[in-house]
Symmetry: C2
Subunit: 362 residues, 2 copies
């Protein structure tokens, strides 16, 4: 593992170490080396914190059944921040045969008032489903469903609801009496998602893992709180750093201007990248003279995360810093790679749209 | 309609008129005569109050589609208080071809902690379903379902949830932050039950009626509040007086000692009636001398409600008051009728048990 990756620098900006202390999680760096998968997300320090990830990996090494849960709230489309998470899910599925549960929570989209109607939320959910299928998940090892279509999940949510009080939900989610009761109940649905791989029909209690941003850790924590009460193993969590948005900061579906979406038009992407925040100097002369700063450059981070292997990344970084590489060239490189990726991916989505019904549970 | 029926006297004891004022409902007595169905429940004043029952009856007279909703919370078995309600539902179905929706809320039984497990609640629900079928509801005109089996009802509950706030639910139901979120959400499920006959799949907006005790009026009221917001006609309510329990007071599933259950063992019924509260004198001599008081006698009320026509009832009442009829004879009469009814009914339930799956939605 590199001592200081571009992501480590970012981590200092956001002080991920402080977050680890604040949330009471464990740093990935304290894991035994043989429990750390050989994947870029770990080598670059993007996966930086966890709960019980060691137990999850030990279970894999012992040949036990495990599962990953990775939900999607379909208020916006899928962007490259999601892509990073789902590519990691896919890595676990391909490398270790891990079963991946993907609940698409159109109910959450509706009760949080992100859309006007349930029909709209469902439509978004189906779009997401096609995109996830197009990423290459294996049907045999994937349990994907849309809440409003797989309504038996609510029986499990009701079961778990008896483990919570309104007080606890309010504390964890910051809710007040002005919200609607659907939203107040939703945390039970979320807990049902996290614990469902342990239901008898899915093979009973097992180590499970949730890939999330650390800001969502509280949802895992309250599910962990009640897991044992209902005879389940407490789900673990793997916390990924945020992918930077086009202007720096976090790529977030609630701020479309920060996102590259997987269904962006090809020309759109070109415009977005040309306007993206970089670590370059103000003009070509200074860039040649002083070089750029890849550590703060979102263009570099997208290249490094999605398109370059680590040898290429190191070389690219060196060329940027030394003033050999101009921002224009670098952006064009990303644009070309993005265009190619999106063109191929969007073709796969078209095909996947026909498979949705077969793929989804319920 | 008799000026003073045994039930009118009871009504003075419980001051049903005060309840009407307190709840802001309409007395049945103020309805135009041609809108009052020719049924004992109205003639005896058992149906005493309403909301929009006139609109419901007008719609029937105009040949419009209407529906009744009559839910069942299966924490206890079905007793004769329920029987009175369901026989009235059945009257509307037989006489006017009214479609009857019967949601059996095993989820409510579970979230209110009336049973330990969801499995137990479901088992109770199935027992109730068989009993309701055995009463003679026509499959073509009956939409009966168990919440945990017909889980798509929850999509509708989520839809309606956006019409409520936690504050409103707390005020209406008396809930606090110490309850579980499943229970906090349940009022949305209840509203979904009340409004579901108006869903497109069941023929769209129509006048609907709910038969309830006036103590449950608040649940109808909050569903009425939001009905228009979602494009529905406000459901109406018909309020029935409480059937007295074996010791006087209300027959209530939460107090088993007040109930005759439809699955009571035949010998059990005999014991229960022999110990029931009557309006008789302390001894035979006084009974002959002063006569009994049928107005406060539960044995008389059971006979009058379920087994005697009005001519028989009047004669029976006269014989009691004049001291011709002894409590022992009267009890024996009721025991014989109950035994016959239960023996036949329980045979029908056995047969109905095989039909449950065909009968239930979902």
């Amino acid at each position: 593992m590199r001592e200081v990756s571009p992501f480590e620098v970012e981590s200092k900006e956001l002080d991920y170490e402080k977050l680890i202390r604040q949330f009471g999680t464990q740093p990935i760096s304290s894991l035994k080396k043989n429990l750390i998968p050989d994947h870029k997300i770990f080598r670059l320090g993007i996966a930086f914190s966890h709960r019980d990830f060691d137990k999850f990996m030990q279970a894999i090494k012992q040949g036990k059944k495990v599962a990953i849960v990775s939900g999607f709230q379909p208020s916006s489309g899928m962007h490259f921040g999601h892509l990073m998470t789902f590519q990691t899910n896919l890595f676990f599925q391909k490398k270790y045969g891990v079963e991946v549960f993907i609940p698409i929570s159109d109910d959450e989209t509706y009760v949080t008032r992100k859309v006007e109607t349930q029909e709209q939320a469902l439509e978004n959910a189906k779009k997401i489903a096609a995109q996830i299928i197009a990423l290459g998940f294996k049907k045999r090892l994937t349990k994907m469903f849309i809440d409003s279509q797989y309504t038996k999940i609510y029986n499990f949510a009701f079961k778990l609801s008896r483990g919570y009080t309104i007080s606890l939900i309010k504390d964890a989610y910051g809710f007040t009496d002005s919200i609607n009761p659907g939203l107040m109940f939703y945390p039970c649905v979320q807990a049902a998602h996290l614990l469902m791989p342990q239901l008898d029909e899915f093979g009973g209690p097992k180590h499970t893992l949730v890939l999330i941003g650390i800001d969502q850790d509280v949802y895992v924590r309250i599910a962990r709180d009640i897991a044992e009460k209902f005879g389940f193993i407490r789900p673990g969590a793997l916390h990924l750093k945020f992918l930077p948005g086009l202007k720096g900061g976090k790529m977030s579906g609630s701020k479309p201007e920060t996102c590259i979406y997987l269904d962006d038009k090809i020309e759109e992407v070109e415009r977005k990248i040309l306007n993206a925040f970089t670590g370059g100097q103000g003009n070509l002369e200074d860039q040649r003279k002083y070089g750029g700063n890849p550590n703060i450059c979102v263009v570099f981070k997208y290249l490094a995360t999605f398109f370059l292997n680590e040898k290429e990344m190191t070389e690219h970084e060196r060329n940027c810093k030394s003033g050999k590489l101009m921002c224009g060239e670098c952006k064009q490189m990303l644009i070309n790679k993005l265009k190619k990726f999106l063109r191929e991916f969007q073709k796969k989505v078209k095909k996947a749209e026909e498979k949705i019904d077969k793929f989804l549970l319920g």
